[in-house]
Chain length 334, copies 2
């Protein structure tokens, strides 16, 4: 296992001085309530809970559309095994947060769901590919993902590796061949955004430093670098590409760039759906580990407020799904 | 190791009845000469040898341009390790056959080298990525490539895996952001061609069945499926994308599709630059293994003649580089 340097040249994005670890103390500035799982919730989370039902309807509806489109995008063709492996992970019941962000952003700027659907599916393919490769023995060596055996456990390492590669190629093919009703110039911009978000200065950079930081002491700025690159960049690409496909003006696209870069979850281990407790066992850095759970939630409130500030420039009814998604990403319990 | 079915539903492209194995007999239909390495050469190969010098000048010049562009495309940025790993394999001194095909095809239809250079580099990035992943322990488990340690031997498995992924993302980003002087519609077409050529029905399909066929009996039709998918598809994408970027008409692009699909080498183990003798040791199917070396060369003559038939529709001076490349691909000794 390689142990890289922990010298991360990160532009300081947030003031972490007030988020020093307080694992055993309770912050009096946060109004809290007891939820049914016995964990503390902030006021923001309580509001989120109250509006949950309506938002869940939206999520169920959009997830159905996305799942149908993904199912159709990867038919069972020859060679069967590779297509079975691709479908196994792609159709494994993820929440489809990224495609939803993409579609919601497209609709926010006045576009129809249909023009964003191919790029929304492509981003989910890339996300799935990153999970398949992340689970491989030479990376995190995970046996389970989303409650199922990981791809390499089900199909063998070489097939899992190639299924990831194939999903990645399919993502770009899908955008290039299935997008309709959008100018080629916007399709090229979306390809550029998607690929930059996940390349060696995007998601892959986060994965590299995440692997390198295992067993090392990581501070909050280093953790933010890993988190922004490993998770936020692709979320950001989802909303940005949605706005591009939806016909958004440059100023809208710029707002989408600022929306997600600062609204990601504080619970990376849970968000990743990893083998329970694995991140704790391997001492992988997460915000709750470094800040304590209450401070991590307080930090989430600030991030969500920043994101919603960007949304305040849009029609509030059209922005509602993205409000809901920002809350969902920050506060979801599983 | 997974052993997949050897049921390959291949449309029959060539009549292999006359190419049955004749390892120890010599075909009297082929005029042969003794070359300095003591191996038999056909008449076509002799012609190739005589025109080698001029063509080598062309290759040296184009390889220099491509190497400079590749060097510039992957600067050493943070995180350093991943960029070092990407550069290690990308700049390891390959022959740049694919970028050259792309540029030659662009020039054939009247385009300038500069409009094809980004996609030419992108195709080399994808090719390099496929080699890095192919060499991993879970695939071919090779220690050397192009005379150097393989990427995972030099940088560790997880970095090699991610360097491959990153090169793949960079390929699409590079085409989308660096192409200039070409309509976005043509850039989207090139993205579609590139990604389809290497996806689950392209290069990855060839890799899947190549791995599955190790240690199995493979007949010539099955070998052709593996070869066409694992090697020819990306060569084909190179000439097709070159013609697209160069402003070629639909009929030109169609000719490019037919050019390489039937002009690939007979010496896959040598072409891949594998650890000497490895393919023989693992009983991996190659044309010389299945046909015998003379029949494989006779087969190469037919393939090259088919390719040159497609080139006869173009100005002969402009087609000269592709004539040379077809010979080079089919007959090169290393």
């Amino acid at each position: 296992m390689i142990r890289a340097s922990t010298c991360f040249p990160i532009p300081k994005q947030h003031d972490f001085s007030k988020f020093k670890a307080t694992h055993k103390t309770f912050s009096p500035t946060i109004q809290s309530v007891q939820c049914n799982k016995g964990v503390l919730m902030t006021e923001n989370q309580q509001v989120f809970k109250e509006t949950l039902f309506q938002f869940e309807d939206y999520m169920v509806h959009k997830a159905k559309r996305v799942n149908e489109a993904l199912d159709e995008a990867v038919p069972l063709r020859h060679p069967l095994k590779i297509h079975e492996a691709m479908r196994y992970s792609l159709l494994a019941g993820g929440k489809r947060v990224r495609p939803m962000l993409c579609i919601a952003s497209c609709e926010l700027v006045g576009g129809d769901e249909s023009v964003a659907l191919p790029v929304a599916c492509a981003i989910e393919m890339i996300h799935t590919m990153s999970l398949i490769h992340d689970d491989l023995p030479c990376m995190d060596d995970d046996d389970y993902r989303r409650g199922k055996l990981t791809n390499h456990k089900a199909f063998g390492e070489e097939t899992a590796l190639l299924a990831g590669d194939a999903l990645l190629f399919l993502a770009f093919e899908h955008v290039a061949t299935r997008t309709a009703g959008v100018s080629p110039e916007r399709v090229v911009r979306a390809v550029a955004e998607m690929s930059a978000a996940v390349g060696s200065e995007g998601l892959v950079a986060g994965q590299v430093l995440d692997v390198a930081s295992e067993g090392q002491e990581v501070d909050l700025r280093e953790l933010e670098y890993i988190h922004v690159h490993k998770t936020s960049k692709l979320l950001e690409a989802a909303v940005v590409c949605g706005a591009i496909m939806g016909g958004g003006e440059t100023v809208d696209v710029e707002r989408m760039h600022r929306l997600i870069v600062s609204s990601d979850v504080t619970k990376s281990s849970e968000e990743l759906g990893k083998t329970a407790g694995k991140d704790l066992k391997t001492k992988k850095a997460t915000y709750p580990r470094l800040m304590g759970i209450e401070k991590a939630r307080e930090f989430a409130d600030i991030l969500v407020a920043e994101a919603k500030g960007e949304l305040s420039h849009f029609d509030s009814s059209k922005a509602a799904p993205l409000h809901g998604l920002a809350d969902y990403i920050a506060y979801r319990q599983n």
